[in-house]
C-alpha cells in the first residue's frame, strides 16, 4: 500500500536527504486461562525525512501521507538542520556513496486468516493445555505479529521497498507447589506472516509438552551454587550472548563513545574456536529471521564479520560512523517506526557452529551447569553481561542432574569467549525479542552450544 513513487520529491532535496514512508502493523491476542485479555490490531504509518547540512542533522516526521505533507516534512527537516547550523558548524560531510536499489516483500501467498481464525487457533491450543495439564495454576497464550513496510529514497541515488513480517506465539505456564509459584515459557514462530508461520495448533503441542515437562522439573529444582562455574550454554542462549554481550560493543556508535571493543581491533578477543558474524539476509543459502537487503540510509546490506577465529575484525556502521572511523559502510543503519531516525543496529548476529557434539560437551564437565533458556539480557560497554536463566540443569560427573531454579549468569564477554573450549556443530536461530536502543527493533540472533566459564548467581 505504500508503493508510491517517491522520486518526484527529489526536487525538494537541497542537502543530503533521506525520505521514508513506513507503516508498522501489529496484531496482539492474549488469552489468560481461556479468557481473551487483549484482542487488538494496530497500524502506525507516516513519513519522515532526515537531512544533513554541514554535519548537522535535521529530522522531521508526520503521520499524514500526502504530497503537501511530504514536501513540508522535507522542508521541516532541512530547517531543523539549518537551526543547528545557526548555532554550530561541523564542516562539510562526505558520506560514502553506494547507490543501491532493492525490492523485497514477504507477504504470504496463502489466503489471509481473519482475527476469528487466529483466536480459534489460540483457543485450540489453550483447550489442549487445559485438558492435558489440569494441575496448572494458570496458562497464558500470546499471539504477537508485526509487519514492517518501508519505502524510501535518498539524495545519493538509493531507493528501496520492503515488507518484512514476523509472528510468534508465547506460552506461559504456571504451577503452584506448596505455596510457591513456578513459571515456564515457550516461544514459537519466526520470520513470516501468521499464515506462513503457523499452520495448525497441533504442530505446537510438542512444544507445549516440553514446556510442561520443564516446568515440572523446575518445581523439583535446586538452587544453583553461586560462583564461577564451568557451563555449557545451549544453542538457544548463544544467540543472546552474540547479540547482547559482544554485538553491542561492536556497534560503531558505541565504539566511538568508548566501548571496550575500540581497543581490540585486530587483536585476539576470543578462543580461536569463536567466529561471530552479523548476517544481512542469508545464512548458508537460507533466509535469515530478519532479512535486511538495504538499510534505512540506502546502503546495500552486507554480511559483517565481527570476530574471525578469535580475532576482532570489524564493527557495524552507519554512514556517519564509517566516515568518522574511515571504514566501509556495512548497511546496519535501521529505524523502527516512521518517526524514528536510523541508528546502528544489528541484523542477524550469530556465533558460527563448531565441530563438537553437545553430548560430548556435557560429558566433559565434572561439576557445572547446562543452561538452556534465558529470559532477559543486558550488557555493558565494558562487555560485562547478565542474562536471566529460566531453565538449566546441574552437570555432575559428566551427566545431567537436577534442574535448577531461575537464576542469573554474568561475565565479561570477551573473557568468557576466551574460556571457550568446545563449540557444538548445531545451531539455533531466534527472532522473538526486540532489541532496545533508544528505539526497539526486530533482530535475529543465533549460535551453537558453547562450553565456557561464567559467574552464576544462587545460594
Amino acid at each position: 500500500m505504500l508503493k508510491i513513487d517517491l522520486s518526484k520529491y527529489k526536487k525538494e532535496f537541497t542537502e543530503y536527504t533521506e525520505l521514508r514512508v513506513q507503516e508498522n502493523r501489529s496484531t496482539n491476542i492474549v488469552l489468560v486461562n481461556g479468557d481473551i485479555m487483549d484482542n487488538s490490531s494496530s497500524a502506525s504509518s507516516g513519513i519522515s525525512a532526515r537531512v544533513n547540512k554541514n554535519g548537522n542533522w535535521g529530522f522531521a516526521s508526520n503521520p499524514v501521507i500526502s504530497d503537501e505533507e511530504i514536501e513540508k516534512v522535507i522542508l521541516s527537516a532541512t530547517e531543523n538542520a539549518n537551526f543547528l547550523g545557526t548555532k554550530q558548524s561541523k564542516g562539510k560531510v562526505a558520506f560514502q556513496k553506494r547507490p543501491h536499489s532493492s525490492q523485497n516483500e514477504f507477504y504470504t501467498k496463502q489466503d489471509l486468516k481473519d482475527q476469528n481464525a487466529k483466536i480459534e487457533f489460540l483457543k485450540k491450543l489453550d483447550d489442549y493445555i487445559k485438558s492435558k495439564y489440569p494441575d496448572l495454576s494458570s496458562r497464558t497464550l500470546v499471539l504477537s505479529a508485526l509487519d514492517m513496510e518501508k519505502n524510501m529514497i535518498t539524495s545519493d541515488g538509493s531507493n528501496s521497498y520492503s515488507m518484512i513480517p514476523k509472528a510468534h506465539i508465547y506460552a506461559i505456564l504456571n504451577k503452584n507447589v506448596n505455596g510457591e509459584n513456578f513459571e515456564m515459557f515457550k516461544v514459537t514462530g519466526g520470520s513470516g506472516q501468521f499464515e506462513d508461520v503457523f499452520k495448525k495448533p497441533e504442530d505446537l503441542f510438542k512444544e507445549i509438552d516440553e514446556a510442561y515437562n520443564n516446568l515440572i522439573e523446575k518445581t523439583e529444582g535446586v538452587y544453583a551454587i553461586a560462583g564461577m562455574k564451568e557451563v555449557v550454554l545451549d544453542a538457544k542462549i548463544a544467540g543472546i550472548l552474540a547479540h547482547e554481550a559482544i554485538g553491542h560493543t561492536t556497534e560503531a556508535d558505541f565504539v566511538l563513545s568508548g566501548s571496550v571493543a575500540a581497543d581490540y581491533l585486530n587483536l585476539e578477543v576470543a578462543s580461536p574456536l569463536i567466529s561471530l558474524v552479523d548476517f544481512a539476509h542469508t545464512f548458508r543459502g537460507e533466509k535469515c529471521p530478519v532479512p535486511v537487503y538495504i538499510d534505512d540510509e540506502g546502503v546495500k546490506a552486507e554480511d559483517k564479520v565481527i570476530i574471525e577465529n578469535g580475532v576482532l575484525k570489524g564493527y557495524m556502521h552507519n554512514k556517519q560512523t564509517a566516515m568518522q572511523l574511515n571504514m566501509d559502510v556495512t548497511g546496519n543503519a535501521r529505524a523502527y517506526a516512521f518517526s524514528d531516525e536510523p541508528l546502528v543496529r544489528m541484523r542477524n548476529t550469530v556465533i558460527l557452529p563448531g565441530k563438537s557434539k553437545l553430548a560430548d560437551m556435557i560429558a566433559s564437565i565434572e561439576d557445572g551447569y547446562y543452561l538452556v533458556q534465558s529470559s532477559n539480557g543486558q550488557a555493558d560497554s565494558t562487555s560485562e553481561f547478565m542474562f536471566g536463566i529460566t531453565l538449566g540443569y546441574e552437570i555432575k560427573n559428566g551427566k545431567i542432574g537436577k534442574a535448577i531454579r531461575d537464576t542469573t549468569i554474568s561475565g565479561i564477554a570477551f573473557d568468557v569467549l576466551k574460556s571457550v573450549t568446545m563449540v557444538s556443530d548445531d545451531m539455533d536461530w531466534n527472532c522473538s525479542g526486540m532489541c532496545g536502543k533508544k528505539q526497539p527493533i526486530p533482530v535475529g540472533m543465533g549460535g551453537p552450544a558453547i562450553k565456557c566459564k561464567v559467574n552464576i548467581g544462587g545460594k
Binding site: V32, L84, I119, E183, A226, S257, T382, T408, G457
Partner: protein, 430 residues
C-alpha cells in the same frame, strides 16, 4: 473534524452499529528533540504523531483498534474493524467501561518549547562536562520537549481531556582512560522549565564523578551476607517487581504474592510508598486513568501496611477486588530520619548500589543480578568502586529487611526516591 468531534463521531458510529459500550481515546503529540553524541549536539528533530484507540464491546465481547489517522475513511474502516474484532472475540463480563462522571479538562506543565534555550542549556552542559569530567564520554542523550493533548470519551458520557507539556533530559555515559573504563551509567529527569543548569539536576554531578572513579573499580573476590544501600537512581528498578504483583496480570493469573495481603504488614514500618499522579510537585501528571476515571493520589504502602492493589476496572471485575483510585504513576518513597552520611557510617560491610542489572525476579520474588556502578563499604567507610559483583535476594522479602531510609531524596520529575538500606543480601564476587 476537531479532536472531540472525532471521538464523538466514533462513539456515535459504534452506537448506530449496535455496539453496547465503547471507549475512545485520542492523543496528539508534538516533540522537539535535541540529541547529542561525541560531546556535541548532533540532531534536531520535530515530530508529530496521532494515536487513536477505539474499543468496542458487544455482548461482553471486546475488539480494539489502534491507528494514527483521523480522516473519515480511516475512521470508518477502524470502526468496522473494531466491531469485527469484537464479533470474533469471546464474551467476558469483565469487559466494561467507566461509569458517568462530570466532564473536566486538565492542563499542566509548559505549553510551548523554547528551542534556543534548549540548545543553550544542552550546549552549556556539554561544555561543562568536557572540562570538568574530561575522561567521561556520552553514549547517547538528549533534551526534548513533549506536548500531548489527550482526549477520553466513552459511551457512558465520560468526557475528559488533558493538555500536558514537559521537558525531558536523558544522558547515558561511560568513562575511559587509556584502556581502563567504567560501566555505563545514565540518568533521566522530567522538568517544567529550563531555569536550572542541566549539570545541577538530579544526582548527575555525583554520577559523573563516580563514573570517572569507576575506571579503577576492583573485581570482588568476597562472598558474604551484608547490607546494600540502594541509591535513588536504582530504587525504581528494585521496586518494579512489587508493582507487578499489585497489578492486573498477577492477580488474574493468581500468581501475585500479595493477593491475600491487603491491609497486612508486608514491609518495614519505616517504608511508605505513594503514587501521586495529580500532584503539582511533579513535572508530569496523569489526570485520567487509562480505564476512564479521574486519577487520584493514594498511599500504596503506609508504614509497611499494604493499603491498595493497583487493579484497573478490568482487573477489579476479573478478581472481585476493589479498583485502585490511582494508576500507580508518580511514585515516591517517604524519606526517613537518617542522614545518608550516617547510613554509610552505620554500615559494617556492604555495597552502595547505584545500578542493578538483573534478571526478572521469578514469581516468588527471588532475584539475582550484577551490582553496577557500585562501591564496597566496610566499617562505615566507602572503600572503593567494585565490579563483577553479584547480589541475590528476594524482591518482596527485602521490604521487611529495610534498616534505614535517608533524610535526603531526589526528584526525577516523575518519581521521588531516597536512599534505602537493606540487610540480609547475599553479595558474591568471582
Amino acid at each position: 473534524m476537531k479532536y472531540r468531534e472525532i471521538l464523538d463521531y466514533c462513539i456515535k458510529s459504534f452506537k448506530e452499529k449496535g455496539i453496547d459500550k465503547s471507549k475512545c481515546t485520542l492523543d496528539q503529540t508534538e516533540k522537539r528533540e535535541l540529541y547529542f553524541n561525541n560531546g556535541s549536539v548532533s540532531m534536531f528533530r520535530t515530530t508529530f504523531n496521532t494515536r487513536l484507540s477505539l474499543n468496542a464491546i458487544k455482548n461482553d465481547k471486546l475488539g480494539s483498534i489502534i491507528l494514527n489517522k483521523t480522516d473519515k475513511a480511516s475512521l470508518d474502516k477502524a470502526i468496522k474493524d473494531a466491531i469485527e474484532l469484537a464479533n470474533a472475540s469471546q464474551p467476558d463480563p469483565a469487559n466494561d467501561i467507566s461509569e458517568f462522571q462530570p466532564s473536566e479538562d486538565f492542563t499542566a506543565g509548559v505549553m510551548a518549547p523554547d528551542n534556543d534555550k534548549m540548545y543553550f542549556r544542552l550546549n552549556e552542559f556539554l561544555n561543562h562536562v568536557k572540562t570538568a569530567y574530561p575522561i567521561t564520554h556520552f553514549e547517547e542523550g538528549g533534551l526534548s520537549y513533549i506536548r500531548t493533548n489527550h482526549f477520553f470519551k466513552n459511551s457512558n458520557g465520560v468526557d475528559y481531556s488533558q493538555d500536558q507539556g514537559e521537558y525531558q533530559f536523558m544522558t547515558m555515559f561511560t568513562s575511559k582512560k587509556d584502556k581502563k573504563m567504567s560501566s555505563f551509567n545514565y540518568t533521566y529527569k522530567l522538568m517544567k522549565g529550563l531555569d536550572e543548569k542541566l549539570i545541577d539536576i538530579v544526582n548527575l554531578k555525583a554520577l559523573l564523578k563516580q563514573s570517572a572513579e569507576e575506571i579503577d573499580a576492583k573485581p570482588f573476590d568476597k562472598k558474604f551476607t551484608g547490607e546494600i544501600i540502594i541509591t535513588p537512581d536504582c530504587l525504581g528498578s528494585i521496586l518494579s517487581p512489587l508493582m507487578s504483583h499489585l497489578g492486573d496480570y498477577y492477580h488474574i493469573t493468581g500468581a501475585s504474592l500479595l493477593k491475600d495481603k491487603l491491609n497486612e504488614k508486608i514491609a518495614s514500618d519505616k517504608f511508605t510508598l505513594r503514587s501521586d499522579p495529580v500532584c503539582d510537585c511533579y513535572a508530569t501528571n496523569s489526570f485520567i486513568t487509562e480505564d476512564g476515571y479521574k486519577n487520584q493520589n493514594a498511599v500504596i504502602i503506609e508504614k509497611g501496611v499494604l493499603k491498595t492493589f493497583l487493579l484497573t476496572l478490568h482487573g477489579s471485575k476479573k478478581t472481585g477486588k476493589a479498583r485502585a483510585l490511582t494508576d500507580g504513576s508518580n511514585m515516591s518513597v517517604d524519606t526517613g530520619d537518617t542522614a545518608l552520611a550516617d547510613m554509610i557510617k552505620n554500615t559494617k560491610q556492604g555495597i552502595l548500589l547505584s545500578r542493578f542489572s538483573g534478571g526478572h525476579p521469578n514469581n516468588n520474588g527471588d532475584f539475582s543480578g550484577i551490582a553496577k556502578n557500585s562501591y564496597y563499604i566496610e566499617n562505615g567507610e566507602i572503600k572503593y568502586p567494585v565490579k563483577e559483583i553479584m547480589i541475590t535476594g528476594n524482591a518482596l522479602g527485602m521490604l521487611n529487611d529495610i534498616v534505614e531510609i535517608s533524610k535526603e531524596s531526589i526528584d526525577y520529575g516523575f518519581c521521588n526516591y531516597p536512599w534505602v538500606k537493606i540487610k540480609n543480601i547475599t553479595i558474591s564476587g568471582k
